[in-house]
Point group: C2
Chain length 200, copies 2
Amino acid sequence: LEYSSRTLELLIEALCRLPGIGAKSAQRIALHLIQEGKGEAEQLAQAILDLHNKVSSCSICFNLTEEDPCAICRDPKRDESRICVLEEPKDLLAIERTGIFRGKYHVLGGVLSPLDGIGESHLHIQELMKRMHPGISEIIIATNPTVEGELTAAYLARLLKPLSVKVTRIARGIPYGGSLEFNDMVTLSKAMEGRLEVES
Amino acid sequence: LEYSSRTLELLIEALCRLPGIGAKSAQRIALHLIQEGKGEAEQLAQAILDLHNKVSSCSICFNLTEEDPCAICRDPKRDESRICVLEEPKDLLAIERTGIFRGKYHVLGGVLSPLDGIGESHLHIQELMKRMHPGISEIIIATNPTVEGELTAAYLARLLKPLSVKVTRIARGIPYGGSLEFNDMVTLSKAMEGRLEVES
């Protein structure tokens, strides 16, 4: 826009690069930050700057943390014999939110993707192998049920097999509250394959 | 969340206070800012900090600007005889984007709202009156067609009447591309009232 402020434009451009923020939301947020007073804007800017200064990866599980090792790796109450393997920190947050899993985690930092040139060395797979010891009873592979996620799961399962540890995969099927007709063929096939006997 | 980073939580909280950002988007943005590297995060933080340091209100029209008076008030090519009166800077941006208006602006900084205790003294109404001089031929009142916007428009029209200046109000009616049946009764009534003779 011919007459608008360069500072405002730069902020709107920076906001547009964030996921899920379009041009209109970016403008609304920028104008909100002007109108709300300096305090709120400075607080937000500081929180963004703190991110890279204070938050880093746990050297054991690669979860995001301010202290190394992270709180989960340090917690003696968590079951050390089970490790849940995930793609990204956001997946860890999603599982933690359910409260159902009380073991440890391992964040791969992505998935194998031969087409994008992402191989084993780009992920924290060797670090997972180093964590393996006789006390570990189960590795739960919780990568996403995508082509790459399944490929990564299969690769890890093959790698872990010689260690004679139980390797499991999170269930794939119809989402809770979903309906059969709105699920794609692959989901339906996997749901059929993964059927369990109903206990009476 | 029990194990999450305090720094991350603070950022997610700050992002949630922005308009249109919910808990899920805030988390996605925060994780994006960690993964994208320090450069992008610092750029965004700096753009937010610059906002209050560099951008302020034009002392003539109260548009947002980095120089006072703003580029529109300084521009000799803009028609000085017409002033378009608006609620907020975002309304000015919306009209500028159409390119249809080449006069000057006056941003009120809100609308009269007796229930919220917002009276004449809270808006830049006196400053508008001081801008009035015999060279001004038209005041276009472009407050929003809400209860408060209409109240403010009526108030301004009454205030400007003794100055024998032409006071106009932007047209209210069916939005372009809209259909009659999906518009509320007030919009339809105003569209009927505001009907114009079709030129042949």
